[in-house]
Symmetry: C2
Subunit: 491 residues, 2 copies
């Protein structure tokens, strides 16, 4: 199936003919680095009353950017001890990034001044453009024309800009832990979504390299950012939330360049025409568009997440686990019911749950009680053989990935949790779970009271993701395999 | 499509011809009430060393059952201050329920003694029967023959028996909060599963009326229990975990009797042949069996859960929400992205997301900022209009159910949470959220840091379920509608 360009409404910039070609060339020659490593930042619309224009300068100062930050407001004065320049021209140093916080109606004029000053990179945070009715659309078209005339890269409008953990450059307020450097990059069309994903993965001990919120994509879009992150040495995995692509054909070309090197996880809304209507003022979408996206993602090796929960789950999996060599899942459990649910989910998601080898069966039968069936899923029940079974499965070359399902009544174990660690009881080994390295993907499902889930999470994460259902880790393992399988077929 | 009887392996008792007829008659004439309200309980296999035989007598005493509990062990003596009788015959009072905890090989003999003593209801907790190889299967067949010869109802073997919160009669150790009476009944084939579901729903403030773990279904099966719970005045909703049915045809007949009065939520594993193999020693299943179950559940108005997460979610929904009059979902959100994800999920699950009426648009446009699109999903952004929008939607007759998606960066709100309550900020009204009653189903998705999710849960649950993704509450609302729609079509 060919992926064809599907313009889909007012938030998309449809690039055709000369414009598109021109921009594609720009992609490759222009560097987006001032967005992430600026040498001088002008905050246009800084102000002394609460809001972004007040918070951002303080935020930048708190993270070591005071020397490179210059505030601009026609009223002058000082804010947070910074001098405020009345115009860009007054700034006594070179500036390579402008952050625009003025109200929407003032943006086009400001953009012209930025262009005149020779600044080639601009983040427009202000809302009130194509997302907000006819007047906003006209305004956005005007702003775009100005930006293009100055050959300017623009992130936004209607966004919260960027996060770069490597140098603590961040144009929006995030939780303190979000400054921790990690290897996952996040691209989100929506500012709220981007911030939410940061908070969400951080809860699991996963941290980002860079995050970009695209907003209305006046100039710079997900394709430019993908291209940039492809080459970013701090980024191993890219997670992207899209409502529609700026250019489907170009997106396909770019993803297919990235995926041999780095996994690209995609959550795309607008799967239904009603969902698309929810993201756009004019739908104008061809029916069947979602199937085209589905096909495109599958062809290019992108990993599509079905839900927000999947998206977070896949981020946790790719950020922490090695890729599997094959699709053979070994399941060890203390409850047959949970083993069955995990198996159903595995098969439906393209994994196999093969029988134990004769060798492994012999290992497990030794000292096992009569009632224990030595099969896969391996239900050890209350035999106390969990650590032996786990280690034998983990070392067995016949399994490419392992899932441990801890299903115990909390009423039965809660008073015993001080007697032993979960390593003693379930996994053996001399090292704490957190410090153990696995050669194949491994995840844990703790289907028990949330107190035991927390206990496991504290001891195992981020190295080993802990979930509270049998299905979610299986979906994550299957996503790892889908990606590896694509790579195998596209060498 | 006809639902045909699909025997599926060793855990199922295939009842055919005379046997089946005989048991069906027994269903209707026999009362299972001694399982839940015994007048005298014999614990056969009580012991003075750790294990069920030691814990259960203590447990019963702690919950007021000392006067009706009689311990049996050939060694005699005392346990927890109870006298221990060497045989059933020595018990100086009538007994209508026996709980068997002796090792599997001793069970058939004990069952004969129970029969001789005239006890018609027995729970066998011991494992080591059909789930544990050929010897176990032979043992189970022998035990079954004995039980049937005495016209005995037997729950188990390989189970943890029952919970009845109304009188605190419970044959297994559960968390203290599990004794709180509620209106949800739980049927689980697996003991671990049953206990887990109790713990899981309790975390959301949902409590059960009765719980039954079926184990290997020597005599009593899910059909008998469904029939009993149908008539149980303490039960409003029935949630059931099945690996396979004891009798598909009879299950269909029974569900279709129950669903006009009470919703039946079903999680069935063994959806794939590998999943069935995981629950059975011999698969012997016809391919396509799962489609038959799917069809049967749909025809009979049972609500099938796809995953463990869905199962818990549906329990929360049916235990707390009124049924919707139609399938028109109103979504109010602070982020367009989350509104789009919720909309996609709604459409895929049979709901509609209709536009706002002109009247409601007029209400919302009053005082709304320019950028606010008055549509459904209604993205109020940071306008402060959430309470007005919420209350207008809740009262609007054009919406049958409401979802509020709270998507805010926690970094932006965390210091302000002491300034106002979530009622002030999002829902208005003079009553705390917990005390407000809704006339249509209402759920909240808090797509934010887990601290804010907890904050909402503390203030809203159990009356209003709080989720942390936009999709899960939509699935729950759709399940409520599926059930109501079935009822509308089967009056």
């Amino acid at each position: 199936m060919m992926w064809t360009h599907q313009p889909s409404g007012s938030r998309q910039q449809t690039l055709t003919g000369k414009n598109r070609k021109q921009e594609c060339i720009m992609d490759t020659v222009k560097s987006l680095s001032p967005f992430f490593e600026p040498n001088g930042i002008a905050i246009v619309g800084a102000r002394s009353t609460p809001g972004f224009g007040f918070g951002l300068p303080k935020n930048l100062r708190d993270h070591g950017w005071a020397d490179k930050t210059y505030l601009v407001n026609p009223n002058g004065g000082t804010i947070h001890g910074y001098p405020v320049f009345k115009t860009l021209k007054e700034i006594p140093a070179p500036v390579d990034l402008a952050v625009v916080l003025v109200p929407a109606p003032a943006v086009p004029k400001v953009l012209g001044e930025i262009g005149e000053h020779g600044i080639k990179n601009t983040i427009i945070m202000s809302a009130g453009f194509a997302e907000a009715g006819e007047e906003g659309k006209t305004r956005q078209a005007r702003a775009r024309k100005i930006a293009l005339s100055y050959d300017m890269q623009v992130i936004g409008p209607n966004c919260v800009g960027v996060v770069n953990t490597a140098n603590a450059f961040c144009t929006t307020e995030v939780m303190p832990e979000a400054y921790t450097p990690g290897k996952l990059a996040v691209i989100a069309q929506s500012g709220v979504f981007g911030q939410n994903i940061l908070e969400r993965v951080n809860e699991y001990g996963i941290y980002v390299s860079k995050a970009v919120t695209l907003g209305n994509r006046l100039v710079t879009n997900e394709i430019h950012i993908l291209d940039y992150l492809h080459k970013d040495p701090d980024t191993d995995t890219i997670a992207m939330y899209l409502e529609g692509s700026a250019d489907g054909e170009q997106l396909r070309h770019t993803i297919v360049k990235v995926t041999p090197d780095k996994p690209v996880i995609v959550l795309k809304s607008g799967r239904t025409s009603e969902g698309r209507a929810a993201t756009e003022s004019h739908t104008g979408s061809l029916s069947g568009e979602d199937n085209l996206y589905d096909g495109m993602f599958a062809q290019t090796g992108a990993i599509r997440a079905e839900t927000l929960d999947d998206f977070t789950t896949y981020c946790r999996a790719f950020a922490t686990q090695p890729l599997p060599k094959g699709n053979r899942l070994g399941i060890i459990t203390g409850s047959g019911s949970m083993g069955a649910l995990a198996t159903d989910c595995a098969i439906k998601n393209g994994l196999t749950v093969p029988p134990l080898s004769k060798r492994l069966m012999a290992v497990m039968k030794e000292g096992a009680p009569d009632w224990m069936n030595t099969k896969n899923p391996l239900d050890v029940g209350p035999s106390g053989l969990f650590p032996r079974a786990f280690n034998a499965m983990m070392e067995d070359p016949d399994f490419d990935m392992i899932l441990a399902v801890i299903a115990v009544p909390y009423s039965a174990v809660r008073f015993r949790l001080t007697e032993f660690t979960i390593e003693d009881f379930f996994f053996g080994g001399t090292l704490p779970l957190k410090e153990r390295k696995w050669e194949k993907p491994f995840m844990i499902a703790v289907v028990c009271h949330e107190d035991l889930v927390s206990n496991f999470r504290e001891r195992a994460e981020p190295g080993t993701p802990v979930f509270n259902t049998p299905e979610q880790p299986v979906r994550a393992l299957a996503a790892l395999w889908r990606y590896q399988n694509w790579k195998n077929n596209h060498k």
